[in-house]
Symmetry: C2
Subunit: 450 residues, 2 copies
């Protein structure tokens, strides 16, 4: 077999990188569970008709075909199976399918891979992992859950060593209400044009709004002025009001943005802040109120690493409508660029202690030492072979294993000892009581240099 090459867009991690990812996932999971979110997973596939039902026909979905497909395979393309491209569409389906067995409001988290057949580049992958939380109600869902999404994610972020994060929030009712207050009837093309502000700049958006969408120059001016409003407190509400547009929907949106900013006042601010940014729109069209986006300092080119919003009618079975609010953290999108810049772990193995082997005949003794350490939660393994101690120590060194254990049989004075191979310090020790420093128990995250 020739040495295989990586597949573009399908990232894989070395063991030390995976140790970092695993710790990130565990932190997310622990935080979500402390807040009472139940973990679920959905199957990786959905019928194509469901994947494409949101009207985004340009989605790059992966379609599945069995290699030995037979007559039982559906001819109808819509009945074929495709890999899910996010965790929201399958979750909406899961809620409908199991509505009779779930209790609402239903709080769930979901950490899974998703697939998109897009052209790979930094921050965009064909297979990647997301971590979502959502709360879904039956027919109604109070606004305080919009606040809770931010609170929970902020608490998780505070435990991860990531670059500073800035969450930008907006509200569809505010924006659409503003456009309608201006006399615009079809708001979707305006949203789409303003969404391009980052890419093409205000002059071109203005041209789009007047020449293609058909707004007056004054209407376009006001749309652009709205999109430039940003701030961390209720002053943004006053700035919007100062533009002189009115209407019930706009008022409701302003009220919700003010509630949200007020609700997250106490959110931990160390490397994380929340600002209203009235240019934020989110591409997907199912959002109906709050929308969230999050940029990582120094990595703004990746786009948003944590996004979501309120959707009042993502799922409905005719009798009941299930409104929800959710937010999705891009685990791979966040970690992959950090890995490529050197983020890693102190070692490539969970092993904290390597127990040396005196000779093959005493393997049982060394195994017992390792078992006694494991019994107390200390990851330990026995050296692969009874080589010279120098070779056994190098086995540990290469992997970053911090400690080497010498059973009583291995030392001249017949007393077991443990050596910190970084300092070379060796001290007598008892497997029943010796404990490594907390920082050495598990691989620790190592930030990129510089």
């Amino acid at each position: 077999m020739a040495r295989p090459a990586p597949l573009s867009g399908f990232p894989e991690w070395l063991p030390a990188q995976r140790a970092v990812e695993q710790q990130v996932i565990e932190t997310l999971r622990r935080t979500f569970e402390l807040h009472g979110f139940a973990g679920i997973e959905t199957r990786s596939v959905e019928p194509m008709e469901r994947l494409l039902s949101k009207g985004e026909i340009d989605k790059e979905v992966y379609v599945l075909r069995r290699l030995h497909a037979d007559d039982s395979e559906p001819d109808d393309a819509a009945k074929q199976l495709g890999l899910h491209f996010d965790l929201t569409v399958p979750f909406a389906r899961y809620v409908l399918e199991n509505a009779g067995k779930l209790d609402f409001p239903f709080r769930r988290y979901q950490i899974q891979r998703v697939w998109r057949g897009e052209r790979p580049q930094e921050g965009r992958y064909r297979e990647f992992r997301q971590a979502d939380i959502d709360v879904v109600g039956a027919d109604t869902l109070p606004f305080h859950y919009d606040v809770e999404m931010v609170e929970v994610m902020a608490e998780a972020f505070a435990q991860l060593s990531l670059p500073a994060l800035r969450m930008q929030v907006n509200n569809r009712k505010l924006v659409q209400g503003f456009y309608r207050g201006l006399g615009v009837e079809d708001v979707a093309p305006v949203l789409r044009a303003v969404d391009k502000l980052d890419k093409i700049g205000p002059a071109q958006v203005h041209a789009l709004l007047t020449d293609e969408v058909g707004l007056t120059a004054q209407q376009a001016d006001l749309c652009l002025r709205l999109a430039t409003i940003t701030g961390g407190d209720a002053a943004v509400v006053d700035e919007v009001r100062a533009l002189g547009v009115t209407g019930d929907e706009l008022e409701q949106g302003l009220h919700e943005v003010a509630l949200l900013l007020d609700g997250v006042r106490d959110v931990p601010r160390d490397g994380f802040d929340v600002v209203a940014d009235l240019s934020i729109a989110r591409g997907l069209d199912y959002y109906t109120g709050t929308v969230y986006e999050t940029k990582m300092a120094g990595f703004e080119h990746l786009g948003s690493v944590c996004s979501g919003g309120r959707y009042d009618s993502l799922a409905s079975d005719g009798r009941t409508t299930y409104p929800g609010v959710g937010i999705s953290f891009g685990v791979t999108r966040t970690l992959a660029p950090l890995f490529s810049r050197g983020l890693t772990a102190t070692r490539s193995t969970p092993t904290c202690v390597l127990v040396v082997l005196v000779d093959e005949g005493s393997r049982a003794t060394s195994r017992e030492c390792a078992a006694a350490l494991r019994e107390r939660g200390i990851p330990a393994e026995v050296a692969p072979a009874a080589q010279k101690y120098g070779k056994q120590i190098r086995y540990a060194e290469r992997r970053g294993i911090p400690f080497v254990w010498f059973p009583a049989e291995a030392s001249a004075d017949g007393v077991a000892a443990v050596r910190d191979i970084r300092s070379g310090e060796q001290v007598p020790a008892d497997v029943a009581s010796w404990t490594p420093p907390d920082d050495d128990l598990r691989p620790q995250v190592v930030q990129p240099a510089g």
Copy 2:
């Protein structure tokens, strides 16, 4: 949207079932890491040529196609991507791809989904999860790792509440050496015929061996007698020797089986035992020494739930060969039938304490109570709305949340209190010090009735 129906072969779990699965995965992960196995994950896809390279052209692989495939898509079917059907083929590829960055012997675990387009039935799914451990060496790998595989899995099983498990071990060298000692040159057809013993019985296997494989009646007799030998200690070696066949390869196999049985003598035996069963062959043809299979008491019809073996040349880059030994636990195959018989958890949410809400104005107070509990590792959430206390308590009851917290504002005497809603007992309590019984902190596994 009409209520969606489940997809046959793609099982999904309700939140309480997923809580059980999550605990099983955490136990496996903790055990593997204590033994120094590094966790890795591989991408879900491999080029078809790699998936099909093991000669099993009848594999039911899922092939991927981008919905909007363009000219950059390979025409050559072998270059197309398919979903992996096990974790061994991708692991072998990962080892070759990253050999320069890994240290050998390399110990890894991998817990991931795999896909097979087979006809679904109990114990056989189109999407399911496996948990694998493997140790891979560069050019050589000592036999003691064959013992360690059993030791590690047994330790994990001892912490799971599963029906009794019996691991059956055999050795390819023993069986092939025996056949060759009998004068059989092409051993593969004999292996395939004997592998059918369970399904078609000894008379038919005998007929196959004589009529189709071309053995003499006496050779066929001896092959069948070998396959009936079973036992938990070195007596099996004497039984084989009593058949009067000799040869170096056979001797090596006998030696290894004896070593394995001796090595696992001390493995915890509570609900888990290991026996040599010389009929065990394993379908895949890359095994070269030890093979493992595991049956679950009362669920023998599922086939093996934990299988693997030694492969001396699964991966090779021309210069270096990477021999390995590994074992794979079928997480879904084991849990799915138990779920359908009632295995579940005590509650459908991680929440241990529901903090009641006096009125919307005091939500901040209730949130602080919940935050103080979470600070000490107690999962807590605030009631969704300031309904009558009876309604708030029923919210907890429906989800199996064991405790309801009344902030000071909610009680007549102004002292905070906690109620165990199962007993109705209510006591004064302080968020800074109250602790639930250990068993209530997380959802507990509930075994099927009967």
